[in-house]
Symmetry: C2
Subunit: 350 residues, 2 copies
């Protein structure tokens, strides 16, 4: 099995032992896997995942000093079904997506953040057949691979309780920021103001229907929102996930604002709680999605209800993944790069 291993902060392409499907498993062949911002964060701050495992009551579940396998935004083809997996709804040859968990006795393995199981950065890997969803005919791989990030955005929007006629400020136009924009558009939120330092990403947000795009270098995004939205109810979506962004928002948003924190900041961050106190802010941290939200994202993509036009900006094979990470770290041109087993050795340019 050809695949990319994360090892001591770097990425190594190698040939790995073949996986064997256990009870309830499907062995699948990768068709495409998106590179997520969390993958970049994890490679840079793997020790944070150990702290998470401990806080979640499962110390030792992630061992940052050992190899691990990234990739949780895949579309794949079923090659073989393990014992007991024949009657759960997927068949050999199906193209499938799934929530990124592998069911094992007494544990759910978080695929894409595991030391022990391959995931979307590998040619072949194991899924739990009962969690797989057949990709509807007509939805191509590039769109199907967006199911996961769109489910993340859909969940964040659901959690916010935002309604048609409310306004939104989306800080950050990476894949999650743009997916949030698509979901907010579908919900008739207006105006949707988006902010990003990258001109390319701002152009993509405009193409996806943002009502106003703002360059934070010119001043606080909240000021741009105020000019556009006046007194409309506001929900702020933080979709950057690097230190400092949250405190900037605490300092600039209006009193009583709800900030939905969808960005995954893996480093410690410093805030001024007093600003949040006197403004009575609400910080709603969100993560992942429920299974029904994942299904809803797949359905909305297949029905054409979510416009994700320019989200995928590049393709790459295993040998070019490290270069793709470097491109994405610059956050200048690319939004979403898909890994494909037969992709090019260097990332395509937008």
């Amino acid at each position: 099995v050809r695949g990319v291993t994360a090892r001591r902060g770097g990425l190594v392409v190698e040939d790995l032992p073949e996986p064997t499907p256990d009870v309830g498993d499907a062995l699948v062949a990768l068709r495409a896997c998106g590179i997520c911002g969390s993958d970049l964060h994890t490679l840079a701050h793997a020790e944070s995942l150990a702290a998470v495992a401990e806080a979640m009551g499962d110390p030792g579940a992630f061992r940052p000093e050992e190899d691990y396998f990234l990739g949780h935004e895949w579309v794949a083809e079923v090659l073989e079904l393990g014992p007991g997996a024949a009657d759960v709804g997927v068949r050999v040859g199906d193209r499938v997506v799934s929530v990124p968990y592998l069911v094992r006795p007494e544990t759910l393995v978080p695929l894409g953040f595991s030391n022990d199981f391959y995931a979307g950065y590998c040619e072949r890997f194991l899924l739990t057949a009962a969690l797989c969803r057949r990709v509807p005919n007509g939805l191509d791989d590039a769109h199907a691979a967006l199911t996961e990030p769109l489910a993340v955005a859909l969940h964040a929007v659901e959690a916010s309780g935002i309604e048609a006629g409310d306004s939104a400020l989306v800080v950050g136009c990476g894949p999650i920021g743009l997916a949030l924009l698509a979901c907010l558009r579908a919900r008739q939120v207006e105006p949707i103001v988006v902010a990003d330092y990258s001109a390319t990403r701002r152009a993509q947000a405009a193409a996806l229907g943002a009502h106003l795009v703002h360059d934070p270098a010119l001043g606080p995004a909240v000021d741009a929102w105020r000019d556009a939205a006046g007194a409309r109810p506001l929900v702020v979506f933080e979709a950057v996930g690097v230190p400092g962004v949250l405190d900037d928002l605490l300092a600039t948003v209006p009193p009583q604002t709800q900030i939905v924190v969808a960005g995954v900041c893996m480093q410690p961050d410093t805030i001024r709680p007093l600003l949040a106190v006197v403004k009575e802010l609400r910080l709603h941290f969100v993560y992942a999605y429920r299974e029904d939200e994942f299904d809803a994202a797949l359905r909305a993509l297949a029905e054409g209800e979510l416009d994700v036009g320019p989200l995928v900006t590049g393709r790459v094979g295993f040998d070019g993944v490290a270069d793709a990470f470097a491109e994405l770290r610059r956050a200048d041109e690319h939004v979403k790069i898909l890994i494909e087993p037969d992709g090019p050795a260097v990332p395509t340019v937008p």
Copy 2:
């Protein structure tokens, strides 16, 4: 006017010019004023108030390098009514409490945090007559002076949406922690687990009806809550307001928990957002109260619906306020110390 001035991080007792009531004002004589944790925080971190003024769109409203006047938890007697203040409901001789704001053209002066107007640490000061509430007969000064902190607690409990049968963890048994306890008791929340390093304060919490008191030196308060409450819905109330407490909670509370942040942390604080993200925590920062909540707190105190038995632990005159601050900073014995114009020169002991 005898009074205490905050000057360059210290407290100075001095004779100040007499204030004159303007349109709509009541000139009042102090009967008692509680010393609030925010007063201690402000004296130590006055520069934070300037940052707040700026974040609230009013830069320059507080000048930390100049003198200012503390005290926002008073009961006072009306001495004189200014022009136009005769028909708003209070009369000369009334004992009154009020929300700590003085109405001035185009601004609300936050009494107790102002460079320009005296407040509860002064013998006489100005209130807006229309904001004054007559203290019901039979409610003594010591209880009436608790209206403000009880309104803070009532507001925090209202904002949380906690219901009878839910459980609560109150972190910190200072005046706000104990006021929260009283409000949660009145709402039939059970169990209420409270945590404080001070044995004296834990004993006071037990006397006020906490179902379990916990010493954080023995381990995370959340573990004590889990033992007592099992699977009951939980709301955490943070009532400490010093750096590090919030991150401890992020690390230890169960997923999906709402943390109501009632403590006023005036210094920058470092958190690990990743822990809040993967647990999908909600941080609800709360501050002050609405006018109707202030009225409800006064009514509940007068009706005996809120048991605040041992909250007031000491009394002091102006000359002993600096000593009282030192006592409260130790947070060992005292909970609430009242300033009284004819109080003793050194704080009474509990």
